[in-house]
């Protein structure tokens, strides 16, 4: 029979303090009952017989007298079985779809354990998302963590959904999607649910919803529950799991609130000093283990406050994740979808997951050269804003053409358009062929000879004749 403690000695924001508690363990769960229901909490500090408890559902309505607290004797655990597929849970892992509790095969600690680096399989299999900018320039690899850095008003949700729709059935293997909403509105959660239903994959989706009006402290648990479910599916049932969680910035704000009410010394912008370690404990749970066939791939979405990539949340995220997909409000304003800002975007695992054995032999060359040329386009644009486009040299004008074509044909594609990797790479070559051959300095001459076709590119994109003539003069 577990002991119950009546009353509390202090309430401070999401934290309550109890005195004279015996045999409490660090990180242990507690159950706090009041006249109108029970809430869950977690022990975050112990000093002798005094314990500090973080209450997930908030402390509204708690008083120092009317509560009974019971120690549960274990850390936060999630009941797991294959039944979780197709179900909807709250941010703390309670079913909220009215279908009753999950009959658990096993229960797992939501904090997880670090995966031993020697037991990891280095991710190499690329995921074909059917989106040119991602497939060619920042290839998504199975087992990777690749966040979307976005801003308010940008179509990050559509992009995430498009990736899921087009990437899901790539090779018919067992797949599942774990979706976690942290502090997003009901509409966003609904959008994801309806599109999953339309795509006919809802029976393979597990949803954890902590919406913007739900208790904030529960938000700290939400991604942990989601990742625990994902690890269970991947490592116990050999499924390829794609985890999408949005919005990481809200999660970090919840963490900040918790930290400040605990009276901790703040780091940058008031976020706790351990924000890096805390985010790492989420992101590092992506990967492939040698002991199982499944994999956990993560696409976290975060909105950059004020579109500032140096804000602590995107900054620390970038240091942990294996690259990022950055969205750009200017491209979005030009009506380009998906508005991927390719220069600050990156996939670190791409180099080992592309090439002859995976995509095509010339993939790395095309990607490198597109990056280099598009970077030069930015320099030319900067110059244009000073001296005007008319004053540009002939080559620089060609770069301006290239830039426009790249944005309108390569980046821009429909929400339902699914391009194969061949189509994407060929399109890349056509765009590069707009430029004079000498400008393509990242590519071996042999590869160039095979793919470079200037005249075809001019025809394909309806460029002005005088450019051809100029080109003929320069290159004979």
């Amino acid at each position: 029979m577990a002991l119950q403690y009546v009353g509390l000695s202090q309430i401070n924001g999401p934290l309550v303090v109890l005195d004279h508690v015996k045999d409490a363990a660090f990180d242990e769960m507690v159950e706090i009952s009041t006249d109108n229901g029970t809430r869950l909490g977690r022990i975050v500090e112990i000093e002798g017989e005094r314990v500090v408890v973080q209450v997930f559902e908030g402390t509204n309505g708690l008083s120092l007298k009317n509560t009974k607290t019971r120690l549960l004797g274990h850390p936060m655990e999630l009941p797991l079985s294959m039944e979780i597929l197709g179900r909807v849970f709250s941010g703390a892992g309670k079913p909220i779809d009215g279908l009753g509790d999950v009959y658990a095969d096993e229960r797992a600690d939501v904090n997880g354990l670090p995966l031993n680096p020697v037991a990891r399989v280095y991710p190499r299999n690329y995921i074909n998302t059917g989106i040119s900018s991602i497939d060619c320039l920042m290839t998504l690899i199975r087992g990777q963590k690749l966040p979307i850095f976005s801003g308010s008003g940008l179509p990050h949700n559509q992009l995430a959904v498009q990736i899921v729709k087009q990437a899901k059935i790539a090779d018919g293997e067992d797949f599942a999607i774990v979706f976690a909403a942290m502090g997003v509105t009901n509409d966003v959660a609904d959008y994801f649910r309806t599109t999953f239903e339309e795509a006919g994959v809802m029976d393979r989706v597990v949803m954890f919803l902590n919406l913007s009006n739900d208790p904030i402290i529960e938000r700290i648990l939400t991604p942990r529950c989601a990742l625990t479910a994902a690890e269970y599916l991947a490592y116990q049932h050999d499924m390829h799991v794609l985890v999408i969680y949005t919005d990481v910035t809200s999660y970090c704000e919840a963490l900040r609130e918790f930290s400040s009410s605990k009276g901790e010394i703040p780091g940058r912008k008031g976020y706790p000093g351990y924000l890096y370690s805390d985010l790492a404990s989420l992101y590092e749970r992506a990967g492939i283990s040698k002991d199982a066939k499944g994999s956990v791939t993560q696409i976290p979405i975060l909105t950059m406050p004020n579109n500032d990539i140096t804000h602590p949340v995107p900054d620390l995220t970038g240091y942990i994740t294996e690259g990022q997909i950055t969205l750009d409000p200017d491209l979005n304003a030009m009506g380009i979808y998906p508005p991927v800002d390719v220069l600050p975007s990156l996939s670190r695992l791409m180099k080992d997951g592309i090439g002859e054995d995976y995509t095509r032999g010339d993939h790395a060359d095309v990607a490198n050269q597109l990056f280099a040329c598009y970077a030069h386009v930015q320099d030319v644009k900067a110059l244009t804003s000073v001296i005007g486009e008319e004053e540009l040299s002939a080559t620089d004008k060609m770069y301006m053409d290239f830039g426009r074509l790249f944005e309108n044909h390569f980046l821009n594609q429909g929400f339902d358009e699914n391009r194969s990797i061949e189509e994407t790479l060929d399109l890349g070559w056509q765009l590069l062929s707009v430029l004079p051959q000498g400008a393509l300095d990242r590519i071996d001459n042999k590869v160039l000879a095979e793919h470079y076709d200037h005249e075809d590119a001019i025809k394909r994109f309806n460029l002005k004749q005088d450019l051809i003539i100029k080109e003929l003069q320069t290159n004979g």
Partner: protein, 583 residues
């Protein structure tokens, strides 16, 4: 003696009430699961311990056991080819014992106690020995002979010695009668506290470069054997790639690679790649000279703090054998953040940006453990420290970068703009510097060519000139420049794209010997000289560009294989022919 029990728990910080018999920095076992911890502060009321493992489920009242010694590493054969966590626990053994995930309280011996090593004894009974003297050698890997040394504080006369043969690391192979009359048994291993530098006779002046085969480093900003370097850069600028390239190709005898608070997949990649990659100098796998320390970002934060010290202690141990050791620490910012996190839990008064006030002194203590040393046993060896720095918000004015800058002498500043254009290594030539140029110029003159440093100076001058000209170009366009200045910009482009930029995935370009670097510089400077002559004759620079000779020279890094340097002679003819073709 009363038993010490846990009083309070806050994350990785545990306190014990009352006066304890622990000493500062003593290693302790916390709780029933024997979590490893270290005493970090004491007063008459409480003793504070930082725990190197997750404290979930720990309860007040559980025992804390002292070990009587500071946190130490085990030094002996079997370190190389291995991968350890931050407190020298072998990850392979842990995976065998506990499966894919790392549980708490896993106590696995650091080195394999069952493996038999082929030991050659090199002392005789009656011989006088003192700290650092080599008493046995073991072929540890195909590349490296491990030398077992008398621990630094021990000296005396050899009493008995076993014959050569196969022994495990814990078997006694010799016994010393110390000067105070007590016997001391020598096995193949010794222990050393990680926060104490291993003693040496004296520091030697720095004189040799650490040759890396990377042009921008060897030519523009070289690092010396026994030197220190920092690689600061925001995320995605290629810190880790740079560290990997250096670990693969630099001419140190031993590499210690510390992944401190970084990605798990990256460590797996290093492990896989180094097993496959063949060292061009010895034709043996690179792993034979490498030890990895992996404390990924999701492993406990206190062990992250220890991992840097563990790494540098292993490096010093191999230095004592007379080897040149390079240690790559990726990244020191994570280590500084671990300091901050623990300092915050101790409620210490923060200095800049929440970092503790002792951050600069900790950084300097770490970097000062580098150096070219005269060892106790008369051999000479060096420890070179190359630390990556991850400045928050890519802002080099933040505390870790600024304080690191004070203690390192080579600074390779990685630049976001270069990385966005996929110019790798994204080392910015305006912000970077090396203070070793003068120390090692003599070595370059003697072993490469007396002209190397002069050519380097010319390259630096052209790049500096280009930076100035670019300010004008950005305001008014390049058309306003006179032709000789346009030539400078074109030549600078050849240097940037054809020389500084290096392709880590190209079979020849990934490692470029100094001879080839010299020849490439010669060709570029010859091109400059010849073009200057053409321009002086009044021909427009456009005509020279249109011959395509610049693009030809840019691609010589790919077109000339590393073992056919005679092909460079052809470039002089091609330059002449191209310029002659201008009518």
């Amino acid at each position: 003696m009363s038993e010490n029990v846990i009083y309070s728990i806050n994350g990785p910080v545990v306190k014990v009430k009352g006066i304890t018999d622990f000493s500062m920095m003593e290693m302790v076992y916390v709780g029933h699961k024997h979590l490893m911890g270290e005493v970090i502060s004491m007063n008459s009321q409480t003793t504070t311990i930082q725990v190197y493992e997750s404290t979930t489920n720990l309860k007040p009242g559980e025992p804390v056991l002292g070990t009587g010694q500071p946190i130490s590493v085990t030094l002996g054969p079997g370190i190389l080819r291995n991968i350890f966590d931050g407190i020298e626990r072998p990850l392979e053994e842990m995976a065998k014992a506990n499966g894919a995930f790392i549980p708490v309280g896993s106590n696995v011996a650091s080195l394999d106690g069952n493996k038999l090593w082929e030991v050659t004894l090199c002392v005789k009974p009656g011989q006088k020995v003192s700290g650092g003297d080599i008493y046995a050698t073991v072929p540890e890997t195909a590349l490296i002979t491990h030398k077992c040394m008398v621990p630094p504080m021990i000296s005396g006369t050899i009493k008995s010695v076993k014959t050569d043969g196969q022994y495990t690391i814990d078997e006694v192979v010799a016994t010393i009668t110390q000067d105070n009359g007590e016997d001391y048994d020598l096995t193949l291993v010794q222990k050393w506290p990680i926060k104490t530098p291993r003693p040496v006779q004296k520091r030697l002046p720095i004189s040799m470069p650490l040759v890396t085969g990377q042009r921008v480093i060897d030519t523009l900003f070289p690092i010396a054997k026994g030197g220190t370097a920092a690689i600061p850069g925001g995320f995605g600028t290629g810190k880790t790639m740079t560290q990997h390239q250096l670990a693969k190709w630099c001419d140190a005898d031993i590499i210690v690679y510390v992944g401190c608070g970084e990605r798990g997949n990256e460590m797996t990649q290093v492990l896989e790649e180094f097993r496959e990659l063949i060292d061009p100098k010895s034709n043996k796998p690179l792993i034979d000279r490498t030890v990895l320390i992996a404390n990924t970002s999701n492993m406990p934060v206190a062990a992250r703090e220890a991992s840097i010290y563990t790494g540098v202690t292993l490096a010093e141990y191999y230095r004592d054998m007379g080897y040149h050791v390079a240690i790559m620490a990726d990244s020191t910012s994570r280590w500084a953040e671990a300091l901050r996190e623990i300092s915050g839990r101790l409620e210490e008064m923060p200095a800049e940006e929440g970092f503790p006030a002792y951050l600069p002194s900790r950084l300097s203590q770490f970097y000062e453990r580098a150096g070219y040393m005269d060892n106790l046993n008369g051999t000479k060896g060096s420890v070179t420290i190359i630390g990556a720095v991850s400045p928050q918000g890519s802002d080099f004015s933040e505390p870790v970068t600024q304080n690191t800058k004070r203690f390192v002498r080579t600074f390779w500043a990685l630049d976001k703009a270069l990385a966005y254009a996929r110019h790798y290594f994204a080392i910015n030539w305006n912000l970077s510097y090396s203070e070793y140029i003068n120390d090692i110029a003599r070595w370059y003159n003697k072993f490469v060519s007396p002209t190397f440093m002069r050519h380097r100076q010319q390259l630096v001058a052209i790049l500096a000139e280009e930076t100035k000209l670019n300010e004008i170009v950005q305001l008014m366009g390049s058309d306003v420049l006179p032709d000789d200045q346009k030539l400078t910009i074109e030549i600078a482009r050849v240097i940037r794209v054809g020389y500084l930029q290096q392709n880590a995935f190209h079979k020849d370009d990934t490692y470029v010997p100094l001879d080839k670097q010299l020849k490439m510089m010669e060709v570029i400077l010859y091109l400059k000289k010849q073009c200057e002559a053409v321009i002086a004759e009044g021909r427009p620079i456009r005509t020279v560009v249109e011959t395509g000779i610049f693009d030809d020279v840019v691609k010589m890094k790919y077109d000339v294989p590393n073992d056919q340097l005679e092909l460079f002679d052809d470039y002089y003819h091609r330059i002449d022919a191209a310029l002659a073709s201008i009518d």
